[in-house]
Symmetry: C2
Subunit: 432 residues, 2 copies
Amino acid sequence: MSILFTDCRLLLRSEGVYSVMDGFLGVEGAYIDYIGKDRPKKGYSTEKRMGGALLMPGLVNAHGHAAMTLLRGVGSELPLQDWLFGKIIPIEDRMIADDIRWGTLYAVMEMLACGTTCFADMYSFTLEETEAIEDCGIKANICSLPLICGDPTLEAHECDRILKAAEYHRAIDARGEGRILSDFCVHSEYLSTEKTLGPYLEIARELGARIQIHISETEKEQLECIERHGCTPMEYFERSGALDNPVCAAHGVWLTDSDIEIAREKGVTVAHCPSSNMKLASGFAPVKKMLDMGVNVALGTDGCASNNNLNMFEEMHLAALIHKGDGREPSAVSPAAVLDMATINGAKAMGRPDCGRLEVGARADIVALNMNALHMRPALDIPALLCYSAQGSDVLMTMADGRILYKNGEFLTIDEEKVTAEFERCCGRLLG
Amino acid sequence: MSILFTDCRLLLRSEGVYSVMDGFLGVEGAYIDYIGKDRPKKGYSTEKRMGGALLMPGLVNAHGHAAMTLLRGVGSELPLQDWLFGKIIPIEDRMIADDIRWGTLYAVMEMLACGTTCFADMYSFTLEETEAIEDCGIKANICSLPLICGDPTLEAHECDRILKAAEYHRAIDARGEGRILSDFCVHSEYLSTEKTLGPYLEIARELGARIQIHISETEKEQLECIERHGCTPMEYFERSGALDNPVCAAHGVWLTDSDIEIAREKGVTVAHCPSSNMKLASGFAPVKKMLDMGVNVALGTDGCASNNNLNMFEEMHLAALIHKGDGREPSAVSPAAVLDMATINGAKAMGRPDCGRLEVGARADIVALNMNALHMRPALDIPALLCYSAQGSDVLMTMADGRILYKNGEFLTIDEEKVTAEFERCCGRLLG
């Protein structure tokens, strides 16, 4: 199957600079095989006229908990610890595999409709989640068996999450023709102990696994870690050896300068989650400083209960605005930096070096954006338009690995009506 | 003409608390004449089944410069003074009435599509603007002849804006069956002088006119005013007598506690413009403090060149999030407070006490919102959904004074194709 896109604009990236070219883009199988101003000589089996739409890389949601769609709006206006332990976890404790299946598939629809082609996910019932989504065509890095083991009396051999980690990893990794990857996950410093962390990391190291972590999300977490261990969470994880694997650390709101230096040195990605950090009153992550110091910063929605949606265009908008306001620097966190965060930086963090940009030889993870929307005129400065004006609803088409998954409001690989009905049934059971 | 809305949910407000009721809403002429759970006994000429949509009050955009749609994206990433004097004003100096006509009508489409039924506007060529929009059905408070007279050598009789202010006011006020109101406007402390302000205010006082002002937008403005006059802009305008008229003061980022106390005492509305204040790196307005101290806070988009769109749902989202992040208080600026800011508080500021809420006897300024969008499920907490999850694109219908102006992507009173073509022509001339 090959597709040639015509009558479109292409958002290209060269050495960190974005430009827009009117032209043609060819897709052969899962890859982009042509980009040019002129019609390619090669023939394609399908030709799609795009009506002047902008083709841009699929968005990469680098941190989230997809099935939390089920909990959208639960516990509004509470600080993180009360929200998490008082409202969220009591409902999560009642969740069964069925909830995760439908909650995740529902989340996938929401993400595809707003241009996300790849997402990181940290939740439970991950085998069932993988089964539910492996055929729908979206890409996901699933934390196969997250280490959430905060009981200091527990030894490693008493924690089944450690014993089964390798087994789960092998069961999930590379499913769906490689679209699903398995990550290891240490929930956080405060929900892990040295006794359980060591053995878990040993397995991660053997497998060379990527690790997802929540890091320095709140001041409380930061201060309590210093009290418990005499060091920051970043330092704690560095000492434990966690950062010797590829790590994607969510939030990083309270990172110190020396934490940021560790992140840079160890190649840790920080997944910035602006909506969630504001909604839970955690604060503003030092994104400008991280970018200036050379850290790979990605972007994530976090879960729906602290956002409350999965719209990466909103996160882009927030990432572009809030650091200008917070640091009183109008040039802080440029549109190009935000586009990088939402695409190529996330792809890198997720072990997908051939994703996150439009380039010959890269994966055909492509979003078509409506440039005829009222708020997209005049189209003077397209990277700025994408960050300050574009809406998730401007997405006309979402393609991953050369396969169209969403187009003009329709899901091509998911039965929207059925998933919505099952999702509402699960919500009713959990929240009713 | 009378309309009965059925199969809908109604966002109601009682003593500052929002609730949602499944029911019926009747419109007779320009007013709401029925709200109830049961079908009214009275017959209506038209009945509209709304498919479970939420009816909510039309949004009130309390500060902006509509025709700046023409300048969307101009001068990204610059601080206010460089952006304004270096990029924006040189283009504005080339604007003619034709640009304002089409730029404003284009802005009106953008606002209607996102649920705005009433907007405040501070710009130029206001007679032509009024003519352009008076028949389209949207409501607007137009600054008929803004005082922008920062030349300290100029006497009042040398400033034609002062001499003609009453004449313009009478020519504009109450046009379009009262949908268009004329406001007076003092651009700012830094673009006015005592010599010109006094005579202008005298006319405003005689007419009992509302006054729109930019106030304490940047730290620079605040400090320079203190240097020039030994007092803050709020104090300066209090001393000058400006605050004896009803005032809507945009921004208020740098208001001191004592400024806020003056605003409360004098009944000054502060129009919060979160996108613009972040984009131009002005900072975060003390919105929580203003609300706590009892100031009437409204919400505005500001102009497109510093936003870059006219989507009030985005401003609601930002207003609900950024003060939680900035003040590290998860309960700061609640969804109910944000809904008030975006509706009833703005209506009050604009001298429209019968607008801004769904209530029998209130104006039928109504937005129908799609509750079947993926990001609107589960609908646990609708005020929270409206602030954290809803999108401008969820607007199905916008009605003002009982007249449907926008429905399912179509404008019923504006020729979208013609306006867009003329708008693009003007953009080409100004920016080309």
